[in-house]
Protein backbone atom coordinates (compact mmCIF):
# COMPACT_ATOMS: atom_id res chain seq x y z
CA UNK A 1 0.00 0.00 0.00
CA UNK A 2 1.09 3.58 -0.45
CA UNK A 3 2.74 5.18 2.58
CA UNK A 4 -0.11 4.78 4.99
CA UNK A 5 0.16 8.14 6.77
CA UNK A 6 0.21 9.99 3.47
CA UNK A 7 -2.74 8.08 2.03
CA UNK A 8 -4.73 8.39 5.26
CA UNK A 9 -4.21 12.14 5.15
CA UNK A 10 -5.34 12.16 1.52
CA UNK A 11 -8.38 9.99 2.24
CA UNK A 12 -9.43 12.33 5.06
CA UNK A 13 -9.68 15.02 2.42
CA UNK A 14 -6.55 16.81 3.60
CA UNK A 15 -6.12 19.21 0.73
CA UNK A 16 -2.61 20.12 1.91
CA UNK A 17 -1.45 16.49 1.66
CA UNK A 18 -2.88 16.16 -1.83
CA UNK A 19 -1.32 19.42 -2.96
CA UNK A 20 2.06 18.30 -1.60
CA UNK A 21 1.69 14.96 -3.38
CA UNK A 22 0.83 16.67 -6.68
CA UNK A 23 3.75 19.11 -6.35
CA UNK A 24 6.15 16.26 -5.63
CA UNK A 25 5.11 14.09 -8.58
CA UNK A 26 3.89 16.61 -11.18
CA UNK A 27 7.27 16.67 -12.97
CA UNK A 28 7.30 12.89 -13.14
CA UNK A 29 3.73 12.71 -14.44
CA UNK A 30 4.42 15.38 -17.07
CA UNK A 31 7.55 13.51 -18.23
CA UNK A 32 5.56 10.28 -18.48
CA UNK A 33 2.59 11.71 -20.38
CA UNK A 34 4.84 13.62 -22.79
CA UNK A 35 5.86 10.27 -24.20
CA UNK A 36 2.24 9.54 -25.06
CA UNK A 37 0.80 12.96 -26.00
CA UNK A 38 0.55 13.90 -29.65
CA UNK A 39 0.65 17.65 -29.04
CA UNK A 40 2.53 19.58 -26.33
CA UNK A 41 -0.76 21.36 -25.57
CA UNK A 42 -2.28 18.07 -24.45
CA UNK A 43 0.28 17.47 -21.70
CA UNK A 44 -1.42 19.47 -18.96
CA UNK A 45 -4.82 17.96 -19.75
CA UNK A 46 -3.33 14.49 -19.58
CA UNK A 47 -1.52 15.27 -16.33
CA UNK A 48 -4.86 16.32 -14.86
CA UNK A 49 -6.42 13.05 -16.03
CA UNK A 50 -3.66 11.16 -14.20
CA UNK A 51 -4.19 12.99 -10.93
CA UNK A 52 -7.96 12.67 -11.22
CA UNK A 53 -7.56 8.93 -11.68
CA UNK A 54 -5.31 8.70 -8.63
CA UNK A 55 -7.81 10.47 -6.39
CA UNK A 56 -10.95 8.95 -7.91
CA UNK A 57 -13.19 6.84 -5.65
CA UNK A 58 -11.51 8.02 -2.49
CA UNK A 59 -7.97 7.39 -3.78
CA UNK A 60 -8.71 3.77 -4.66
CA UNK A 61 -5.86 3.46 -7.17
CA UNK A 62 -3.37 5.28 -4.96
CA UNK A 63 -4.29 2.98 -2.07
CA UNK A 64 -3.51 -0.04 -4.24
CA UNK A 65 0.14 1.00 -4.54
CA UNK A 66 2.41 -1.38 -2.64
CA UNK A 67 5.97 -0.13 -2.00
CA UNK A 68 7.09 -3.74 -1.42
CA UNK A 69 6.37 -4.51 -5.08
CA UNK A 70 7.65 -1.44 -6.92
CA UNK A 71 9.11 2.02 -6.41
CA UNK A 72 6.61 4.88 -6.47
CA UNK A 73 8.29 6.66 -9.41
CA UNK A 74 8.14 3.55 -11.57
CA UNK A 75 4.53 2.89 -10.59
CA UNK A 76 3.44 6.49 -11.20
CA UNK A 77 5.11 6.44 -14.61
CA UNK A 78 3.24 3.28 -15.57
CA UNK A 79 -0.07 4.68 -14.23
CA UNK A 80 0.49 8.02 -15.98
CA UNK A 81 1.21 6.52 -19.38
CA UNK A 82 -1.65 4.04 -19.16
CA UNK A 83 -4.09 6.78 -18.10
CA UNK A 84 -2.87 9.17 -20.78
CA UNK A 85 -3.30 6.56 -23.49
CA UNK A 86 -6.84 5.73 -22.32
CA UNK A 87 -7.71 9.45 -22.19
CA UNK A 88 -6.42 10.01 -25.70
CA UNK A 89 -8.50 7.13 -27.02
CA UNK A 90 -11.58 8.66 -25.42
CA UNK A 91 -10.96 12.19 -26.69
CA UNK A 92 -9.87 11.24 -30.17
CA UNK A 93 -12.51 13.04 -32.30
CA UNK A 94 -11.15 16.30 -33.72
CA UNK A 95 -13.33 18.61 -35.78
CA UNK A 96 -11.28 19.72 -38.77
CA UNK A 97 -11.63 19.34 -42.52
CA UNK A 98 -10.22 16.04 -43.66
CA UNK A 99 -7.94 17.80 -46.16
CA UNK A 100 -6.28 19.65 -43.30
CA UNK A 101 -5.32 16.47 -41.51
CA UNK A 102 -1.81 15.21 -42.33
CA UNK A 103 -2.00 11.89 -44.11
CA UNK A 104 0.11 10.21 -41.47
CA UNK A 105 -2.59 10.88 -38.87
CA UNK A 106 -5.28 9.22 -40.94
CA UNK A 107 -3.62 5.84 -40.52
CA UNK A 108 -5.69 3.21 -38.76
CA UNK A 109 -4.66 2.79 -35.17
CA UNK A 110 -2.53 -0.36 -34.91
CA UNK A 111 -3.97 -1.06 -31.48
CA UNK A 112 -6.59 -3.75 -31.87
CA UNK A 113 -9.15 -4.59 -29.23
CA UNK A 114 -7.50 -6.78 -26.67
CA UNK A 115 -8.57 -10.39 -26.86
CA UNK A 116 -10.11 -11.58 -23.63
CA UNK A 117 -7.70 -13.70 -21.65
CA UNK A 118 -8.71 -16.92 -20.00
CA UNK A 119 -7.91 -17.18 -16.34
CA UNK A 120 -4.76 -19.33 -16.63
CA UNK A 121 -3.19 -16.86 -19.07
CA UNK A 122 -3.77 -13.97 -16.71
CA UNK A 123 -2.82 -15.73 -13.48
CA UNK A 124 -0.24 -18.39 -14.25
CA UNK A 125 3.23 -18.37 -15.72
CA UNK A 126 3.76 -20.15 -19.05
CA UNK A 127 5.63 -22.93 -17.24
CA UNK A 128 2.79 -23.44 -14.76
CA UNK A 129 0.23 -23.54 -17.58
CA UNK A 130 2.36 -26.01 -19.48
CA UNK A 131 2.65 -28.32 -16.50
CA UNK A 132 -1.08 -28.21 -15.74
CA UNK A 133 -1.92 -28.82 -19.39
CA UNK A 134 0.36 -31.86 -19.50
CA UNK A 135 -0.94 -33.15 -16.19
CA UNK A 136 -4.67 -32.69 -16.67
CA UNK A 137 -5.35 -32.32 -20.38
CA UNK A 138 -2.80 -34.79 -21.71
CA UNK A 139 -2.97 -36.91 -18.55
CA UNK A 140 0.77 -37.36 -18.30
CA UNK A 141 2.47 -38.64 -15.18
CA UNK A 142 4.67 -36.34 -13.12
CA UNK A 143 7.76 -38.34 -14.07
CA UNK A 144 6.90 -38.04 -17.77
CA UNK A 145 6.40 -34.28 -17.47
CA UNK A 146 9.69 -33.92 -15.59
CA UNK A 147 11.48 -35.85 -18.30
CA UNK A 148 9.81 -33.96 -21.13
CA UNK A 149 10.69 -30.59 -19.61
CA UNK A 150 14.10 -31.68 -18.33
CA UNK A 151 13.33 -30.73 -14.75
CA UNK A 152 13.09 -32.49 -11.41
CA UNK A 153 9.75 -34.19 -10.56
CA UNK A 154 9.69 -32.20 -7.34
CA UNK A 155 9.84 -29.01 -9.39
CA UNK A 156 6.80 -30.20 -11.30
CA UNK A 157 4.91 -30.77 -8.03
CA UNK A 158 6.01 -27.41 -6.69
CA UNK A 159 4.88 -25.57 -9.83
CA UNK A 160 1.58 -27.45 -9.72
CA UNK A 161 1.09 -26.52 -6.07
CA UNK A 162 1.82 -22.81 -6.63
CA UNK A 163 -0.52 -22.69 -9.64
CA UNK A 164 -3.35 -24.32 -7.68
CA UNK A 165 -2.88 -21.94 -4.77
CA UNK A 166 -3.35 -19.05 -7.19
CA UNK A 167 -6.41 -20.53 -8.88
CA UNK A 168 -8.05 -21.42 -5.55
CA UNK A 169 -7.35 -17.94 -4.19
CA UNK A 170 -8.88 -16.39 -7.31
CA UNK A 171 -12.09 -18.43 -7.16
CA UNK A 172 -12.39 -17.99 -3.40
CA UNK A 173 -12.00 -14.22 -3.72
CA UNK A 174 -14.61 -14.13 -6.50
CA UNK A 175 -17.09 -16.24 -4.58
CA UNK A 176 -16.87 -14.07 -1.44
Amino acid sequence: MAQSGEVDALARGDKGAWEAFVRRYAGLVVAAVRGVAREPAEVEDLAQEVFLRLCKDNFRLLRSYDPARAGISTWITIVARSTARDAMRRHRPVLMPIDAVPEGRLAVDPIEPAQKLKLPEALLSPRQREILTMLYDREMEVAEIAEALGIDPQTVRSAHHKAMVKLRAHFKANEE
Binding site: I78, L119, S125
Partner: protein, 181 residues
Protein backbone atom coordinates in the same frame (compact mmCIF):
# COMPACT_ATOMS: atom_id res chain seq x y z
CA UNK B 1 7.03 -44.37 -0.15
CA UNK B 2 7.58 -46.01 -3.53
CA UNK B 3 7.15 -44.02 -6.76
CA UNK B 4 3.93 -45.87 -7.56
CA UNK B 5 2.51 -44.93 -4.14
CA UNK B 6 3.45 -41.36 -4.80
CA UNK B 7 1.72 -41.47 -8.19
CA UNK B 8 -1.43 -42.97 -6.68
CA UNK B 9 -1.44 -40.29 -4.01
CA UNK B 10 -0.94 -37.63 -6.64
CA UNK B 11 -3.87 -38.92 -8.66
CA UNK B 12 -6.12 -39.10 -5.59
CA UNK B 13 -5.22 -35.58 -4.49
CA UNK B 14 -5.33 -33.99 -7.89
CA UNK B 15 -8.80 -34.91 -8.97
CA UNK B 16 -10.42 -31.77 -7.47
CA UNK B 17 -7.45 -29.82 -8.81
CA UNK B 18 -8.20 -31.14 -12.27
CA UNK B 19 -11.76 -29.81 -11.95
CA UNK B 20 -10.41 -26.46 -10.83
CA UNK B 21 -8.01 -26.35 -13.77
CA UNK B 22 -10.77 -27.19 -16.27
CA UNK B 23 -13.04 -24.61 -14.68
CA UNK B 24 -10.34 -21.96 -14.91
CA UNK B 25 -9.83 -22.73 -18.60
CA UNK B 26 -13.50 -21.86 -19.18
CA UNK B 27 -13.34 -18.62 -17.19
CA UNK B 28 -12.49 -15.23 -18.64
CA UNK B 29 -9.95 -13.30 -16.64
CA UNK B 30 -11.39 -10.25 -14.97
CA UNK B 31 -9.38 -7.11 -15.57
CA UNK B 32 -7.78 -6.05 -12.30
CA UNK B 33 -6.25 -2.82 -13.47
CA UNK B 34 -4.57 -1.95 -10.16
CA UNK B 35 -2.85 -5.33 -9.90
CA UNK B 36 -1.80 -5.15 -13.55
CA UNK B 37 -0.19 -1.74 -13.08
CA UNK B 38 1.70 -3.00 -10.03
CA UNK B 39 2.81 -6.07 -11.97
CA UNK B 40 4.19 -3.88 -14.76
CA UNK B 41 6.01 -1.62 -12.29
CA UNK B 42 7.45 -4.62 -10.43
CA UNK B 43 8.48 -6.16 -13.74
CA UNK B 44 10.17 -2.93 -14.84
CA UNK B 45 12.24 -2.97 -11.66
CA UNK B 46 12.96 -6.72 -11.85
CA UNK B 47 11.35 -7.28 -8.46
CA UNK B 48 9.00 -10.12 -9.40
CA UNK B 49 9.47 -13.78 -8.57
CA UNK B 50 10.65 -15.82 -11.57
CA UNK B 51 7.17 -17.31 -12.16
CA UNK B 52 5.51 -13.93 -11.92
CA UNK B 53 8.11 -12.37 -14.14
CA UNK B 54 7.54 -15.06 -16.77
CA UNK B 55 3.79 -14.51 -16.57
CA UNK B 56 4.10 -10.74 -17.04
CA UNK B 57 6.62 -11.20 -19.84
CA UNK B 58 4.13 -13.46 -21.61
CA UNK B 59 1.39 -10.85 -21.22
CA UNK B 60 3.70 -8.11 -22.50
CA UNK B 61 4.46 -10.14 -25.61
CA UNK B 62 0.90 -9.45 -26.76
CA UNK B 63 0.69 -5.86 -25.52
CA UNK B 64 3.11 -3.45 -27.23
CA UNK B 65 1.70 -0.41 -25.43
CA UNK B 66 2.40 -1.96 -22.02
CA UNK B 67 5.86 -2.95 -23.24
CA UNK B 68 6.51 0.72 -24.11
CA UNK B 69 5.27 1.72 -20.65
CA UNK B 70 7.72 -0.64 -19.00
CA UNK B 71 10.57 0.67 -21.15
CA UNK B 72 9.61 4.26 -20.32
CA UNK B 73 9.42 3.46 -16.61
CA UNK B 74 12.93 1.99 -16.77
CA UNK B 75 14.23 5.08 -18.58
CA UNK B 76 12.52 7.70 -16.42
CA UNK B 77 14.93 9.89 -14.55
CA UNK B 78 13.11 11.81 -11.86
CA UNK B 79 10.78 13.72 -14.20
CA UNK B 80 11.07 17.19 -15.67
CA UNK B 81 11.51 20.51 -13.95
CA UNK B 82 8.33 22.55 -14.26
CA UNK B 83 8.15 26.31 -14.17
CA UNK B 84 6.22 27.68 -11.18
CA UNK B 85 3.36 28.80 -13.43
CA UNK B 86 2.88 25.37 -15.00
CA UNK B 87 3.23 23.63 -11.64
CA UNK B 88 0.62 25.92 -10.06
CA UNK B 89 -1.80 25.25 -12.90
CA UNK B 90 -1.35 21.49 -12.59
CA UNK B 91 -1.80 21.66 -8.81
CA UNK B 92 -4.94 23.78 -9.17
CA UNK B 93 -6.46 21.39 -11.71
CA UNK B 94 -5.54 18.32 -9.65
CA UNK B 95 -7.05 19.89 -6.52
CA UNK B 96 -10.27 20.60 -8.40
CA UNK B 97 -10.77 16.85 -8.60
CA UNK B 98 -10.44 16.17 -4.89
CA UNK B 99 -13.38 14.27 -3.42
CA UNK B 100 -14.26 17.04 -0.94
CA UNK B 101 -14.13 19.59 -3.73
CA UNK B 102 -16.48 17.47 -5.74
CA UNK B 103 -18.81 17.17 -2.75
CA UNK B 104 -18.72 20.93 -2.26
CA UNK B 105 -19.84 21.40 -5.82
CA UNK B 106 -22.80 19.08 -5.53
CA UNK B 107 -25.97 21.02 -6.22
CA UNK B 108 -28.22 21.02 -3.17
CA UNK B 109 -31.38 18.98 -3.47
CA UNK B 110 -34.14 21.44 -4.42
CA UNK B 111 -36.43 22.41 -1.56
CA UNK B 112 -40.05 21.44 -1.87
CA UNK B 113 -42.02 24.26 -3.52
CA UNK B 114 -44.13 26.46 -1.23
CA UNK B 115 -47.29 25.58 -3.13
CA UNK B 116 -46.88 22.02 -1.91
CA UNK B 117 -46.82 23.25 1.71
CA UNK B 118 -50.01 25.32 1.17
CA UNK B 119 -51.63 22.34 -0.46
CA UNK B 120 -50.81 20.18 2.58
CA UNK B 121 -52.06 22.82 4.95
CA UNK B 122 -55.35 23.08 3.04
CA UNK B 123 -55.79 19.30 3.11
CA UNK B 124 -55.19 18.96 6.84
CA UNK B 125 -57.24 22.09 7.57
CA UNK B 126 -60.25 20.82 5.67
CA UNK B 127 -59.99 17.46 7.42
CA UNK B 128 -59.88 19.16 10.83
CA UNK B 129 -62.84 21.36 9.87
CA UNK B 130 -64.83 18.31 8.74
CA UNK B 131 -64.12 16.54 12.06
CA UNK B 132 -65.13 19.64 14.05
CA UNK B 133 -68.34 20.01 12.05
CA UNK B 134 -69.23 16.35 12.51
CA UNK B 135 -68.52 16.61 16.24
CA UNK B 136 -70.68 19.71 16.61
CA UNK B 137 -73.54 18.18 14.68
CA UNK B 138 -73.33 14.99 16.71
CA UNK B 139 -73.25 16.94 19.96
CA UNK B 140 -76.15 19.20 18.92
CA UNK B 141 -78.29 16.28 17.84
CA UNK B 142 -77.48 14.36 20.97
CA UNK B 143 -78.30 17.22 23.32
CA UNK B 144 -81.48 18.01 21.34
CA UNK B 145 -82.60 14.39 21.65
CA UNK B 146 -81.80 14.31 25.32
CA UNK B 147 -83.73 17.51 25.96
CA UNK B 148 -86.71 16.28 23.93
CA UNK B 149 -86.94 13.01 25.81
CA UNK B 150 -86.47 14.28 29.34
CA UNK B 151 -87.89 17.82 29.49
CA UNK B 152 -91.52 19.08 29.29
CA UNK B 153 -92.76 19.55 25.78
CA UNK B 154 -93.58 23.11 25.08
CA UNK B 155 -96.21 24.08 22.63
CA UNK B 156 -93.74 26.16 20.74
CA UNK B 157 -91.52 23.10 20.23
CA UNK B 158 -91.09 22.75 16.54
CA UNK B 159 -88.87 19.75 16.74
CA UNK B 160 -90.07 16.54 15.20
CA UNK B 161 -88.20 14.59 17.83
CA UNK B 162 -91.15 14.22 20.31
CA UNK B 163 -93.21 12.75 17.53
CA UNK B 164 -90.44 10.42 16.49
CA UNK B 165 -89.48 9.11 19.93
CA UNK B 166 -91.56 7.44 22.60
CA UNK B 167 -90.57 9.24 25.89
CA UNK B 168 -91.42 6.12 27.92
CA UNK B 169 -89.19 3.64 26.20
CA UNK B 170 -86.79 6.05 24.54
CA UNK B 171 -87.15 4.11 21.28
CA UNK B 172 -88.55 5.25 17.96
CA UNK B 173 -92.29 5.23 17.73
CA UNK B 174 -94.11 2.93 15.37
CA UNK B 175 -95.47 5.58 13.03
CA UNK B 176 -97.65 3.02 11.30
CA UNK B 177 -99.56 2.50 14.55
CA UNK B 178 -100.22 6.25 14.82
CA UNK B 179 -101.50 6.33 11.27
CA UNK B 180 -103.71 3.26 11.83
CA UNK B 181 -105.32 4.89 14.88
Amino acid sequence: MSPSDQQREDLANWSPDRDLWRRSCQTDATADEAAHLLDLAGFAEGRLEPDESDRVAALLAGDPAATDDVAAARAIDGGVHLTPGVLDRIVARACAGLPDEIAARVVAFPAAPRRRILHGLAQWGSLAAAIAMASWLGFAMGSDTSRALSGPISSSETSLLPELFDPGSGFLRDLGEVLRT
